[in-house]
């Protein structure tokens, strides 16, 4: 126990802050339905409508036009935003990571095909292709019985995964390229190790630090994209809250009821900052160069 506390004290204060924030946020997001002090995100409290309450003991972040608790909406917003961003980054890591690994290790025509694919994916204006795909998936869902399951959650996860494939593939490829020229890979090869063994036992473990950094920074970028899309009305549909959606719902009343817009913004900003801090710390700790640039 003592060593654990000592370890925590040795952490950089910003890292400590970032981990505490993310820990608390994840805890709130997961246990929101059972925590007594978090209201339901759609629960309308009588007499609290029309932005009646500012931030206070009862309504931590104030109330909104329909008398809903902004704190509860921000917490459920965290749940939705984090879930979407995290699942997208996992898909991106699986697809982009395997592409990058194959390109960097096997070289030759695979490398060329992957590089072209990555270049093309990066040439798409991200936000534009996202609203187009989400918009069309809505139509697809409405018009076809077979696509009834294709809700906004699925569309947005699909789009964000698509966006994360190319940058991840690029970084993994660069890392794999430099790793596969190191002595230990040569040593393993000369002992007669097969490709699969070299990839999974020699290269993959050495990619873990870089991947950790990429996951954190990537989630930060995806949270920003999700926020932008939600603001434009192309993320989760109301009444489910997402931070960007809360901003677009309440910004008309910014002057009278600043809390309803400012608090979701602060949540989004601090969360993105926390993910970036941890990503940056990991990258510095393991001395990872920005292979993406």
């Amino acid at each position: 126990m003592m060593t654990f506390l000592k370890k925590i004290r040795r952490l950089h204060p910003t890292t400590l802050f970032a981990s505490l924030w993310l820990g608390a946020l994840t805890f709130l997001a997961i246990f929101a339905p059972v925590l007594p002090f978090v209201r339901g995100y759609g629960e309308r409290v009588k007499g609290a409508g029309r932005f009646k309450f500012g931030p206070g003991a009862d309504f931590l972040f104030g109330s909104d036009a329909l008398g809903r608790d902004m704190f509860a909406r921000c917490v459920y917003g965290a749940q939705i935003s984090l879930r979407v961003a995290a699942s997208s980054i996992i898909v991106g890591l699986l697809i982009g990571g395997s592409l990058g690994l194959a390109a960097g290790y096997l070289r030759g025509w695979i490398d060329r095909v992957v590089s072209i694919l990555v270049d093309i994916l990066l040439a798409f204006p991200a936000l534009i292709i996202s609203i187009l795909i989400v918009g069309r998936f809505d139509v697809l869902q409405a018009n076809n019985e077979a696509f009834g399951w294709l809700t906004r959650t699925w569309s947005i996860t699909f789009v964000l995964s698509l966006l994360s494939i190319a940058p991840i593939a690029r970084i993994v490829r660069a890392q794999t390229l430099s790793l596969s020229q190191r002595e230990f890979v040569l040593a393993a090869r000369s002992l007669g190790a097969k490709n699969g063994r070299v990839i999974f036992r020699e290269i993959l473990p050495n990619l873990i630090p870089a991947m950790t950094s990429v996951v954190f920074t990537g989630i930060a970028i995806l949270l920003v994209s999700e926020g932008g899309l939600a603001f434009l009305g192309y993320s989760i549909k109301p009444p489910s809250p997402s931070w960007g959606l809360l901003v677009s719902e309440n910004r008309e009343r910014l002057q009278e009821a600043w809390w309803a817009t400012i608090f979701p913004c602060i949540m989004l900003f601090v969360t993105v900052l926390a993910f970036n801090i941890i990503g940056d710390r990991v990258a510095r700790r393991f001395d990872i160069r920005e292979a993406a640039l």
């Binding site: 093309i120 040439a123 069309r136 930060a220 913004c265």
Partner: protein, 319 residues
């Protein structure tokens, strides 16, 4: 020369693939393309007119794409039946707003980043550098949407000079009004850009300041000011230009949000509207133009690089 052709070839491939994929995307889930193009619930005579104007809509997608590409190349960008406006007119009306947001945000970004980046590198780990590096890290983590909200709340709503909703006013009509209307939307994007470029320029300048030619200049007794601006900045400026070009693609997305937030009638807001209505030709034309601009600027920067810096030219000739 061979390199030039190679790059132009790449440019064409990227353009064709991206616009083709966008065209396919506009067809996802669509039951009746002609009806989408005509703008939803309209009479039979409009449908007949659309069919007459675009007789190729029942052909396979690749053929349709060929027709569309031919139209684009010959300058016929199509017609928005939903808005009764030709796409060319739409561009003339909407493009200036978006252009000025982009231009001023890059301008503001550089205006902040260049002096700050140079000074941070020159007085490394000094108080200015510390503040700049912490605040730029925080600014990089700030989404455009959050900048927009804070600028609206702390500037537009407190100071009457800046309107809450902006209008397009050309700088040649009234420079003052133009500034008032474009300052906040541009700053929304410019602050984030400034943060990225400050960090970039600082890192690049620190490397440059350690090189031998700077040492020589210093030994000759040259003033720090002259060394920084004449010698060090000159070699860092190229990488800064690349960084500017790299941010362009992200800037397009940011512009959509800034326009929507401050109510400017630009390309971005039009695109969001077109997606809602599935105004196919407008979506296709806007993405095509944006992709061309972004990829073209990157191509020019890349070529410029090779022209200015002989080392790169030679490295490429060898590879």
């Amino acid at each position: 020369m061979r390199y030039l052709l190679q790059r132009i070839g790449q440019f064409i491939i990227v353009f064709v693939v991206v616009t083709f994929v966008v065209m396919c995307a506009t067809r996802i889930g669509s039951k009746d393309v002609v009806r989408d193009l005509a703008g939803g619930t309209v009479g039979d005579e409009v449908i007949a007119k659309v069919e007459a104007d675009y007789p190729y809509l029942d052909k396979p997608l690749v053929i349709q794409y060929g027709y569309w590409l031919k139209d684009m190349v010959t300058g016929n960008m199509g017609y928005s039946y939903a808005q009764s406006q030709s796409v060319i007119d739409m561009f003339q009306q909407r493009l200036p707003s978006t252009f000025f947001i982009g231009f001023w945000s890059i301008f503001l970004g550089l205006l902040i980043a260049v002096p700050l980046g140079i000074y941070s590198a020159y007085r490394r780990d000094g108080p200015v550098d510390r503040v700049a590096s912490y605040s730029s890290f925080a600014f990089i983590s700030t989404p455009p949407l959050v900048f927009a909200v804070f600028l609206l709340y702390f500037v537009a709503l407190k100071i009457d000079t800046f309107p809450v909703l902006s209008n397009y006013i050309a700088p040649w009509d009234s420079p003052v009004e133009h500034f008032k209307n474009f300052f906040l939307p541009s700053l929304t994007l410019g602050l984030g850009l400034a943060a990225v470029w400050t960090r970039f320029l600082r890192a690049d300048m620190i490397l440059t300041l350690q090189s031998d030619f700077i040492m020589l200049a210093r030994a000759k007794g040259m003033s720090p000011r002259r060394i920084l601006y004449r010698h060090a900045l000159r070699s860092s400026i190229l990488s800064l230009i690349t960084s500017v070009a790299l941010q362009l693609s992200g800037l397009v997305g940011g512009a959509v949000i800034a326009e929507q937030f401050f109510g400017l009638a630009g390309i971005g807001t039009r695109l969001v509207f077109a997606v809602q209505q599935n105004d196919i030709l407008v979506i296709q034309a806007i993405t095509a133009v944006l992709v061309v601009v972004v990829v073209f600027v990157n191509l020019v920067v890349d070529l410029l690089y090779a022209v200015v810096d002989p080392r790169i030219r030679h490295a490429r000739a060898l590879g």
